[in-house]
């Protein structure tokens, strides 16, 4: 990739605009973005548009397939699956987003500190990240989940640890690039603090790759959350979550496959659209593919 010229503070915005413009040429990525936004809307409006409450049990209508009253059918306790899928989306998608945001924030802080101070601070932090990365991701989340206990917030914390090393390394690399630039010294001579200058140059440049990583990260977190539910950790019932619904439906896969199809489709759709968006963003950032 060609060396990006660091520009002044104001250029951050135009860089953004260029990327968005590039993105709009990519029909596929736009499709992904549209699907994702639509999904977000649907799940945000879940309390308004769901036909039933997600906890409502109708013991006379157990494990029914799709019908007029229950578009997606009912589960083994007589609850409407469409409503549960919509509500579950709120938990699943927000868990993915928040854990990624948390990972990005923490990663940014850690990576910047490592890059800025250099020397032994950098070494220690990098080794620490090495150690965390040498543990298979799912395992680390599982152990954390066991320690923190089940629950929405705890799961977000447990999941976010996975994204931290990646984001931290990114930020560190950016920080190192920027730190050595001459205009830093030049700015210092006119009394701007070193930190402020660095921040104003580093952040706009690093945002783009961070966003790409974050987009893929959200998809990964959603899948990891569903793996946690498989094992029995994660969000507590009766709060619905796509992964939990999917895992729960394993027992019924022979007799009532519809219980597995709809949460599965929901996860698939979300992950797909996020990946399309991520791919598009990555292409948009690549100056060689610029149009």
């Amino acid at each position: 990739m060609a060396e990006k010229k660091s520009r002044g503070k104001g250029s951050g915005n135009s860089e953004f605009k260029t990327i968005l413009k590039q993105l709009s040429y990519n029909k596929l990525a736009m499709l992904g973005a549209i699907i994702f936004v639509l999904e977000l809307l649907l799940v945000l409006l879940a309390p308004v548009i769901s036909p039933y409450n997600y906890e409502e049990m109708d013991t006379t209508a157990i494990r029914q397939t799709s019908s007029a009253e229950h578009l997606f059918g009912t589960d083994d306790l007589g609850r409407d699956i469409l409503s549960r899928v919509l509500y579950a989306g709120r938990y699943s998608i927000t868990m993915g987003i928040f854990s990624t945001l948390l990972a990005a924030a923490l990663g940014m802080v850690i990576g910047s500190i490592a890059g800025y101070f250099g020397g032994w601070v950098d070494n220690v932090i990098m080794r620490f990240l090495d150690i965390i990365q040498s543990l298979p991701g799912l395992l680390l989340s599982i152990v954390l989940s066991a320690v923190l206990g089940p629950g929405y917030i705890n799961t977000i914390l447990a999941l976010s640890v996975n994204g931290i090393p990646g984001q931290a390394r990114l930020l560190r690399a950016e920080m190192l690039k920027v730190r050595g630039n001459e205009y830093i010294e030049a700015s210092q001579s006119i009394n701007c603090t070193k930190l402020r200058v660095i921040a104003s140059h580093m952040i706009p440049n690093s945002i783009s790759p961070m966003i790409v990583q974050a987009t893929m990260g959200v998809a990964n977190m959603i899948i990891m959350a569903s793996s946690l539910s498989f094992i029995g950790l994660g969000v507590q019932p009766p709060a619905p979550e796509w992964g939990a619904m999917l895992s729960y439906s394993r027992e019924f896969i022979r007799s009532s496959p519809h219980m597995a199809i709809f949460p599965g489709l929901a996860i698939a759709l979300t992950v797909l659209s996020l990946n399309l968006m991520g791919d598009g963003l990555r292409d948009a950032l690549d100056p060689k593919l610029r149009r």
């Binding site: 040498s134 954390l144 206990g149 793996s227 029995g232």
Partner: protein, 319 residues
């Protein structure tokens, strides 16, 4: 080169220690009572206190940490599982090979399917071939593994009666689990292969090769692929690491007693010694794999080999 390898091997020791300390500290904060787990809810408080004392659970944190580290790293005495009383070393030695075989076969399928898919997609960029291959790949990551696993079992074991549905034995027992687990790998590899091939295909030496009249097949495989290999190898390596830890689900469904099920059961029962030792072993195996990946880089790209060799000689300052 040798110096580089030795440095990397030595580096695994602090990593293992670090993992040990981190996991031990984390698990210590688990809000659970080991005595209750072992004795069951039918035991009295007195019984549990007796057991806690005998297991040394009431000792201060650093004493226990010290004991654990000396036992594990100096005496190689991994102890017994708190819950099952099985010898941990024996359990790991029995189970690690199975997880390994499973991981390797899954990886093999991912490589054998993913890379060609990526190549075809890159060659046919923008056309039907590209779209079909990437669609297949993307569909792969979107489908949850355990779900695909059950579908495969129903199709191949129940309906077609071709393969065993679960258990361990010969190689045929690993086929369905490997297919179930490979979808993620196929997707990542196809994607990465496609994008690195695309970058390489546009470069000058490819045009030169074509101009020289080299056969297209050779252009793709000998020239393009070889240069595109580095990021692909990275993906293979990191994927292997993720697989190692993520096999638990496949193992549970197919009743394969591997490292995954060992650790899951241990976490669920808060069986600290097993979780700790298991994590350390997995971390070490993973580091070892990353070393092999880095060595493969050197084999593929002589520039990188030179870089490794120079690393040993003088430190290159960043910045």
């Amino acid at each position: 080169m040798i110096r580089y390898i030795i440095r990397r091997l030595l580096w695994m020791i602090p990593v293992a220690l670090g993992v040990a300390v981190i996991v031990f500290t984390l698990m210590t904060f688990c809000p659970s009572d080991a005595a209750e787990i072992i004795l069951g809810s039918n035991a009295t408080e007195e019984d549990k206190e007796i057991l806690r004392d005998s297991m040394g659970l009431n000792d201060p944190f650093f004493v226990r940490l010290g004991d654990f580290l000396t036992d594990t790293f100096i005496r190689f005495d991994f102890g017994k599982s708190w819950v099952t009383k099985a010898d941990i070393k024996t359990s790991i030695l029995e189970r690690m090979p199975r997880t390994f075989v499973l991981t390797v076969s899954t990886l093999a399928i991912s490589v054998l399917v993913g890379i060609p898919l990526g190549i075809i997609a890159a060659i046919n960029q923008g056309k039907l071939g590209d779209n079909m291959c990437m669609a297949f790949a993307l569909a792969g990551i979107s489908i949850p593994n355990f779900w695909l696993a059950l579908l495969l079992v129903i199709l191949f074991s129940v309906k077609l009666k071709l393969l065993p549905p679960m258990g361990i034995g010969g190689l045929e027992y690993y086929i369905l689990p490997a297919i179930a687990g490979c979808t993620n790998g196929i997707a990542s590899l196809a994607r990465q292969t496609r994008s690195s091939m695309l970058e390489v295909i546009r470069s000058d030496y490819i045009t030169t090769a074509r101009a020289k009249g080299v056969k297209e097949f050779d252009v793709i495989t000998k020239h393009a692929l070889k240069n595109a290999l580095i990021p692909i190898i990275t993906v293979v390596g990191t994927h292997f690491g993720r697989l190692l830890g993520g096999m638990m689900i496949i193992e549970t469904i197919f009743s394969i007693p591997g490292m995954g099920t060992l650790i899951i059961t241990a976490v669920n029962t808060r069986d600290l010694p097993v979780v700790q030792v298991g994590s350390i072993i997995l971390a070490i195996v993973f580091s070892f794999c990353m070393l092999i990946v880095d060595l493969l880089y050197a084999a593929v790209d002589p520039r990188i080999k030179a870089q490794y060799e120079s690393m040993g000689k003088r430190r290159v300052k960043h910045g």
